[in-house]
C-alpha cells in the first residue's frame, strides 16, 4: 500500500499508539455483541418452566435480540456519522445495562421480549457497528491485523461468558443473573470511553489551512475567473436551485450514504455476503445436535464447540497478520473469497466424517475457516468502499444481511426435519458458501480490472493540458465546498483519491 498518498480520511491514521487501546475496546464490544445471544440460551429451560411456554416461544427472545442487533445497523451508522463513535458506544452500553436490569424484574414473557430482546438488542447494535468503524479511523497500514484482533474478541468472550452464565445461574437464579449481567454489559461503556475521537477535527483543519494557506488564494482566483467568463448570472441562479435539491439528497447522504448502492464494489460485497450468510451460522447451531444424533454423548458434543472456539480464537488474529502481508493485502478480496469457499468445502465434506475423530477434525477445520471469514468480514468492506464511507456501508450491509442471517438456521432446521438427516443441511450450507465464494472471486476479478482501467483513464487525463484540468477541478471543488461543510468535505472530495489508493495498491504488486 502506498503510504505517501493521504488516505480518504483526510489525515494519516496513527496505525498504533492509542489505536491498540481502541482495538482492545473494540474486541470487548464486538465480543459482547456476537456472543451474548448465544450465551443467553442457558436460561431457556428455567424460563420455559416459570412461564409455562414452549421452546419456540422462548427462542423468540434471542431471535429478536439478533434481529435488532443487525437491523439496528443503519441507526448506528446515522448516529456515528453525526456524533462519532464514542458517545454511541457508551449510550449502547447503557442501553444494554438498562435492558438486562429491567429484565430482572419482568413478570411476563412479553416484557422479556421487550427488555431482553429489543432494548438489549438495540444496545448491542449501537456497540457493534461503531467499534468496527473506529478501527478504520485509527488504522490503515495495519488495518487487517487490527480487524483480526478486534474480531477475536468474539470467541474469547464466548469462552468466558458461557461458563460465567452457568455460574451466575447456579448461584443467583435467573433474576439475579440478569441483574448482574446488566452490570457486566455496562463494561461496554468502558470500551466506548477508550474510543477517543480522531479525524478531521477543527484543529487539524486549521493546521491544514496554515499549511495549504497559499492554495486558497489560487482557488479564489479560479472561482472569480469562472464567474467572469460566464456571460450572465443566470447559471449561478440555476446553480443555487440545483444546490437546494442536492442539499436534500446530500443531507440524507450525510447521515446515511445511499449512493453506496451505485458503488460497484459495495454491490458485489453485498450480494456475495447475503448469499454466504444463508449457510454460515446453521452448521454451528446444529453441530452439537448432529453429534448427539450419531451417538456421541453430550459432554463430548459440547467439547466439539469448545475446540471450534479455541481454533477460531487463534485463527482470527493469524488471518489478520496474513491479510496484512504485502502479498495478500492488495488481493485481499481473493483471499476472502477463498476462505468462504474453503468454509463451504468443509461443510460438504462433513457428512463423510465418521465417528468422533472425524467430527473433531471437521471442528478444527471449521473453526479455522470460520475465523478466517469473520476476521476479514469488515476489512474487505473497508477495502472496497474506503474508510470514510464505511460508516454508512456497514449499516446498510448489516440490515440487508439481517434477513439471511435470521433465515439460515430455521431453513437448516426445516431441511433436517423434512429429510430426517443432517447431511442434507451440511450439503446445502456447503453448496451455498462455495457458490458465494466463487461469485465473489469472479466479480472481484472483474472489479479489480475495472479499477485498473479507471486508474489508467485518470492517468491519461492527468497528461492533458493543465489549465483545463484546474478549471474542471476548481469547478467540482467549488460545488462541493459550497454544498457541504464539516466532516463530509474531506471524504467526498477524496473519494477519488481513495479509489486511487486502492488501485495503487493493486498496481504495486
Amino acid at each position: 500500500m502506498s503510504h505517501q498518498v493521504p488516505s480518504d480520511l483526510g489525515y494519516v491514521p496513527p496505525d498504533g499508539g492509542w489505536g491498540w487501546a481502541v482495538v482492545f475496546g473494540a474486541s470487548i464490544s464486538v465480543g459482547f455483541a456476537y456472543t451474548f445471544p448465544k450465551a443467553f440460551t442457558i436460561y431457556f429451560k428455567e424460563l420455559q418452566a416459570v412461564y409455562s411456554i414452549s421452546y419456540s416461544q422462548i427462542a423468540w427472545i434471542t431471535s429478536i435480540m439478533c434481529a435488532t442487533a443487525y437491523g439496528g445497523g443503519p441507526i448506528s451508522s446515522i448516529l456515528v456519522n453525526r456524533y462519532g463513535s464514542r458517545p454511541v458506544v457508551m449510550f449502547g452500553g447503557l442501553l444494554c445495562g438498562i435492558g438486562m436490569v429491567s429484565a430482572a424484574f419482568c413478570t411476563s414473557i412479553l416484557q422479556l421480549y421487550i427488555c431482553v430482546g429489543f432494548i438489549t438488542g438495540l444496545g448491542l447494535a449501537l456497540n457493534l457497528q461503531p467499534s468496527v468503524i473506529i478501527i478504520g479511523k485509527y488504522f490503515l497500514k495495519r488495518r487487517p491485523i487490527a480487524n483480526g484482533l478486534a474480531m477475536a474478541g468474539s470467541p474469547v468472550m464466548l469462552c468466558t461468558l458461557a461458563p460465567l452464565n452457568q455460574f451466575l445461574f447456579d448461584n443467583f437464579g435467573w433474576r439475579g443473573s440478569f441483574l448482574i449481567l446488566g452490570a457486566i454489559l455496562l463494561n461496554c461503556c468502558v470500551a466506548g470511553a477508550l474510543f477517543r475521537p480522531i479525524g478531521v477535527a477543527k484543529q487539524s483543519v486549521k493546521n491544514q489551512m496554515i499549511e495549504e494557506g497559499k492554495e486558497a488564494p489560487k482557488e479564489e482566483v479560479t472561482k472569480m475567473s469562472m464567474e467572469m467568463s460566464n456571460p450572465a448570472y443566470a447559471p449561478a441562479e440555476t446553480k443555487t436551485e440545483e444546490e437546494e435539491e442536492k442539499d436534500c439528497c446530500e443531507k440524507i447522504n450525510r447521515y446515511l450514504d445511499f449512493s453506496l448502492f451505485k458503488h460497484r464494489g459495495f454491490l458485489i460485497y453485498l450480494i456475495g455476503n447475503v448469499l454466504m450468510f444463508l449457510g454460515f451460522f446453521a452448521p454451528i447451531v446444529f453441530l452439537a445436535p448432529y453429534a448427539k444424533h450419531i451417538g456421541i454423548d453430550e459432554y463430548s458434543a459440547a467439547f466439539l464447540l469448545s475446540i471450534l472456539a479455541i481454533v477460531d480464537m487463534i485463527a482470527r488474529p493469524a488471518t489478520g497478520v496474513i491479510a496484512n502481508s504485502k502479498w495478500v493485502r492488495p488481493r485481499i478480496q481473493y483471499f476472502f473469497s477463498f476462505s468462504i469457499a474453503f468454509n463451504g468445502a468443509c461443510h460438504l465434506l462433513c457428512p463423510l466424517a465418521s465417528g468422533y475423530t472425524g467430527l473433531v477434525v471437521y471442528s478444527i477445520f471449521f473453526g479455522l475457516a470460520f475465523g478466517m471469514v469473520c476476521a476479514m468480514l469488515f476489512e474487505t468492506l473497508m477495502d472496497l468502499v474506503g474508510a470514510a464511507r464505511f460508516t454508512s456501508a456497514v449499516g446498510l450491509v448489516t440490515i440487508v444481511e439481517c434477513c439471511t442471517i435470521l433465515l439460515g438456521p430455521p431453513i437448516g432446521g426445516t431441511i433436517i426435519d423434512t429429510f430426517g438427516d443432517y447431511k442434507y443441511m451440511f450439503i446445502k450450507c456447503g453448496a451455498v458458501m462455495v457458490l458465494a465464494g466463487t461469485f465473489l472471486f469472479i466479480m472481484n476479478y472483474y472489479n479489480y480490472r475495472m479499477l485498473a482501467k479507471e486508474e489508467k483513464e485518470r492517468k491519461a487525463k492527468e497528461e492533458d493540458p493543465k489549465i483545463v484540468r484546474t478549471e474542471n477541478e476548481g469547478r467540482s471543488n467549488w460545488n462541493k465546498e459550497t454544498l457541504q461543510d464539516g466532516p463530509e468535505l474531506e471524504p467526498l472530495r477524496d473519494e477519488q483519491e481513495g479509489l486511487k489508493t486502492e488501485v495503487n495498491g493493486t498496481n504495486e504488486v
Binding site: 418452566a49 416459570v50 409455562s52 447456579d170 448461584n171 443467583f172 437464579g173 433474576r175 439475579g176 443473573s177 441483574l179 448482574i180 446488566g182 452490570a183 457486566i184 455496562l186 463494561n187 461503556c189 468502558v190 470511553a193 477508550l194 477517543r196 496554515i210 488564494p217 482566483v221 472569480m224
Partner: protein
C-alpha cells in the same frame, strides 16, 4: 394385529428366541401385541411391558443378555441373565427396574470357555433365604419369581461354587426418581416451579412433601391453592408451583411417585434469597465500570494537556517564522491581489 395373533404368540411361547440383542426389531412387534392384551387385564398405563423390554440405562454392559417379554397368564413375563466370565471372586451386579407386577426369571450362565470347571454347588439366595432353582441348561441356572408387591423386591444372588467361585446379584427395584442436586434459587415474593420426571415409567400418582424440621408433610394443593399449584402434564412429570415465596419456604422438597410395586422419592432443594444478595455484586461491578471510565477520561485530559503544551510551543515557533516570512513576502502577495 388382532387378538388371534396374540394367542398364537402365546402358544409359541417356548419357541420364542430367548436371547436377543437390543438391535433386533422382532421383539418389539411382539411386545406391542402383548401390550394390548395386558392392558385390559392389568393396569391402564401403557408402557407397562414396553418399559421393561426396552433397554434402560442399566443394561449397557456386554456380559449379559436380555430376553424379550412374552405373555403368560395375566402378568408380563421378563427374563434377565448374567453371563459369568470374569475373574473368580468378583461379583457381577445388575439393576432391574419394575413398576408393575410381573413374572421374573433370573438366570446365571457360565461362559462356555470354562467347560472344564466342575460346578459342584449352585445357590440362589435372597438375603439368608435360599430359593429353589432349576437347571435350565448345561451351564445355566435360574429361578422364577412372581413379583406382586414390594415385599418381593430386593436383591437376589446366585453363587456358583466349584474349582472357582462366581457370584452374581440382581437388584429388583422400583423406578428411581431423580431430583436435582443443585438447589433451585428464587427470590422473596417471586414464584418458582419445581419439576420431577420419571423417565420411561408412568406412576399411578405423584405426591409432594415439604420438610418441616425432620418431618415430611404432604402438600395439599386444593387446601392451599393460592400458595401451591400441582400440575401433572404430561403424565410422567409433575410440576409444583410455589407462589409468594418467603424465607420459610426455603428447604428440601420431595416428589414421590407411587407405582404398583412401591414408591420412589426424589429430592429437590429450594433456596430463597433476598434481592440484597445479587445486588452486592451488581454494585461492585457498577463501581468498577464508573472508576474505569473515570480513569480513561482523566488520562485523556492529562495527555491532551501535555499535547497542547507541546503544540503551543510549536505554534509559537511557527508564528515567529511566518512573521519573518511575511515581512519578506508582503510585497509579492499584494501585487498578486492587485492583478485580479
Amino acid at each position: 394385529m388382532t387378538t388371534e395373533d396374540a394367542s398364537q404368540t402365546q402358544g409359541n411361547l417356548t419357541q420364542m428366541p430367548t436371547r436377543l440383542n437390543e438391535s433386533s426389531t422382532e421383539p418389539m412387534t411382539t411386545t406391542r401385541i402383548v401390550n394390548r392384551q395386558t392392558r385390559e387385564s392389568i393396569s391402564d398405563h401403557s408402557p407397562v411391558g414396553h418399559g421393561v423390554s426396552t433397554p434402560g440405562p442399566d443394561l449397557t454392559t456386554q456380559d449379559f443378555k436380555q430376553a424379550i417379554e412374552e405373555k403368560a397368564s395375566n402378568f408380563t413375563y421378563v427374563e434377565y441373565e448374567i453371563l459369568l466370565s470374569g475373574v473368580s471372586g468378583t461379583s457381577k451386579e445388575k439393576n432391574i427396574t419394575l413398576d408393575n407386577p410381573a413374572k421374573v426369571e433370573l438366570s446365571c450362565r457360565l461362559a462356555s470357555k470354562y467347560p472344564h470347571l466342575n460346578i459342584v454347588q449352585v445357590a440362589w439366595k435372597r438375603g439368608n433365604e435360599t430359593i429353589k432353582h432349576i437347571n435350565k441348561t448345561e451351564n445355566s441356572w435360574s429361578i422364577q419369581l412372581t413379583v406382586t408387591d414390594e415385599n418381593e423386591l430386593g436383591s437376589y444372588s446366585c453363587t456358583l461354587k466349584g474349582e472357582e467361585e462366581f457370584k452374581a446379584v440382581f437388584h429388583l427395584q422400583v423406578p428411581k426418581i431423580e431430583g436435582k442436586e443443585k438447589p433451585i434459587i428464587s427470590y422473596d415474593g417471586d414464584s418458582v416451579v419445581m419439576i420431577c420426571k420419571s423417565s420411561s415409567y408412568t406412576p399411578i400418582t405423584w405426591t409432594w412433601y415439604l420438610t418441616n424440621g425432620s418431618e415430611q408433610i404432604a402438600i395439599n394443593d386444593s387446601l392451599m391453592s393460592d400458595k401451591y399449584v400441582i400440575d401433572r402434564v404430561p403424565a410422567n412429570t409433575t410440576h409444583l408451583k410455589i407462589l409468594k415465596l418467603t424465607k420459610k419456604d426455603d428447604g428440601a422438597y420431595w416428589c414421590e411417585a407411587v407405582f404398583k410395586l412401591g414408591k420412589s422419592k426424589g429430592k429437590l432443594k429450594l433456596k430463597v434469597l433476598t434481592f440484597m444478595v445479587p445486588l452486592k455484586p451488581f454494585l461492585v461491578i457498577l463501581a468498577e465500570v464508573i472508576i474505569l471510565v473515570a480513569i480513561v477520561f482523566l488520562y485523556e485530559v492529562y495527555s491532551k494537556k501535555k499535547e497542547k503544551h507541546a503544540e503551543d510551543e510549536k505554534e509559537f515557533e511557527q508564528v515567529e517564522q511566518l512573521k519573518s516570512e511575511e515581512s519578506n513576502g508582503v510585497e509579492s502577495s499584494s501585487t498578486r491581489h492587485r492583478k485580479v
